[in-house]
């Protein structure tokens, strides 16, 4: 295990690269791939195995991430904490490190309003908040993925990823610009996935699916392929997108726009069941491929 730096202090490895101790909550598929970018850049990345699955442990090992045991131990050692988790868990993850006084990055698919609540929680306890949003597949090749960042400390986080497969960018001048970009992006990719699934279901219910597909083939030639890609993606992980759609709906409403598109999208994705074997290890050897129509952001 590398030497433990002071909380928040960079370890100077060379004349121009500062390395940090970064807590990663948690190494899911996306988190582990982000962690791998950080370890490749020489940073020490910690995770907390307590209560996590064997699949998460396997991914963490593959990413070169070090087990700190508990979230409390991780928070005690890290100067930066990076939260990469499902939207519904974002507030819980922040609460679990309550009192952390370093730099806390929430990189989750949450509404700007939710991000402000997380930021408040962190800053009230003496920490600093950076907002984030990841667009793309888990980073495994240059150009595949962007990490949008915002807030006064965003450049510090951006620098961590310099030269990695994760393209870290400043989203805009406001504290929660990164979450806004993520919401606006997913509003299209996943919103249209839900819409096209609803439309095919409508056509089936009305007995006109073949006619619709023939019309699409004529005038909207990519839609059938897109709809089958969306169906495949939603079958695999539609249940995971429900909360993201609700965050987008809240984002729309807060901006004075109708929330119905994404409330409806949440309802569509809610129809896809949670897979039975959620705790089985999943291969992380190969990044998931993006089939046509598959939302990847």
């Amino acid at each position: 295990m590398p030497a433990r730096p002071d909380c928040g202090g960079p370890v100077r490895h060379t004349d121009h690269v500062s390395t940090h101790v970064i807590g990663l909550l948690h190494p899911g598929e996306m988190g582990a791939a982000v962690g791998r970018c950080l370890t490749k850049n020489g940073h020490t990345v910690l995770w907390a195995s307590e209560g996590r699955s064997a699949a998460t442990a396997a991914r963490a090992r593959a990413a070169g991430v070090t087990d700190a045991g508990t979230v409390a131990a991780l928070a005690g050692q890290a100067g930066i904490i990076l939260s990469v988790c499902p939207p519904l868990a974002a507030a819980d993850v922040a609460w679990a490190v309550h009192g952390f006084r370093g730099l806390y990055v929430d990189a989750n698919a949450i509404a700007p309003g939710t991000a402000r609540e997380v930021a408040q929680m962190i800053t009230d306890a003496g920490g600093r908040y950076v907002d984030g949003g990841i667009i793309g597949l888990p980073p495994a090749a240059s150009g595949s993925t962007r990490l949008y960042l915002s807030g006064p400390d965003a450049p510090t986080i951006q620098a961590l990823f310099e030269g990695t497969d994760l393209d870290a960018r400043i989203a805009g001048p406001t504290l929660t610009a990164a979450s806004a970009v993520k919401m606006a992006y997913g509003a299209w990719t996943k919103g249209t996935a839900a819409l096209i699934l609803a439309i095919r279901e409508l056509a089936r219910e009305e007995g006109v699916e073949d006619t619709l597909l023939a019309e699409w083939a004529l005038s909207q030639p990519k839609l059938e392929e897109r709809s089958t890609g969306s169906a495949r993606a939603a079958t695999a992980k539609g249940w995971r997108w429900v909360a993201e759609m609700e965050e987008i709906a809240a984002t729309m409403a807060a901006a004075g726009l109708p929330d119905g598109f994404h409330q409806a999208a949440a309802e569509i994705f809610r129809r896809y069941p949670v897979p039975a074997r959620r705790t089985a290890p999943r291969s992380s050897a190969k990044p998931p491929s993006a089939a046509p129509g598959t939302p990847t952001g």
Copy 2:
């Protein structure tokens, strides 16, 4: 003026082509172009000038359509009536010819449930109902436009358009299959137009429009052009799509699907004002071109 046939009876011009007297309610841009297909095929097409605008009269003249004066006179002479009007007017148009005992075609963007109400109104008074739905631009070239038809008498209507720029097709075996196809098709084209407008407005409100456009340029390269096309189309006629979105929402709900996508789309299009000079003549010399992102169905 051509000889008046018996109500509903075809006029036999040659050994193999039957021509009919067809009432057209009303020659808007789409209706006039459909009427032109019928007059080119040798049918007598009537319209009713009473209460209609100078622009409608100009379009009717250009389409070779004959003025019957009133709707009552039209219904008295025609064996077939074709209703091509805004969705909100569909029931009123049917009611205006109450007692008509020929073949009544509703070719409007209405929900199957609304179409069944119109059908009931027509058949209760002794007429026969054919359901229709038009997809595409006003027909001005082969392959530009389909007229979907359903119901037992659909083949009679299909035959009227043989060899014209309007490709008449049987939508399916149920009475309102044609309306279902039209709803499912517009659910995507106009639903996504509304969604992309909402997303750009969201990005503007959140101060991240440039960042979103840069991300789109990278990973969704057609979306910016699509969004500007949708904005142009909605500015020109978004107000006209509100009722169609409400019909689609009703169609979704009747099929046990969420109606929120299209309730939201209606709300977006409701924000586009009705143009001030609605009664000014518009050129019908040139069919509208389909800019990228422009819903044409």
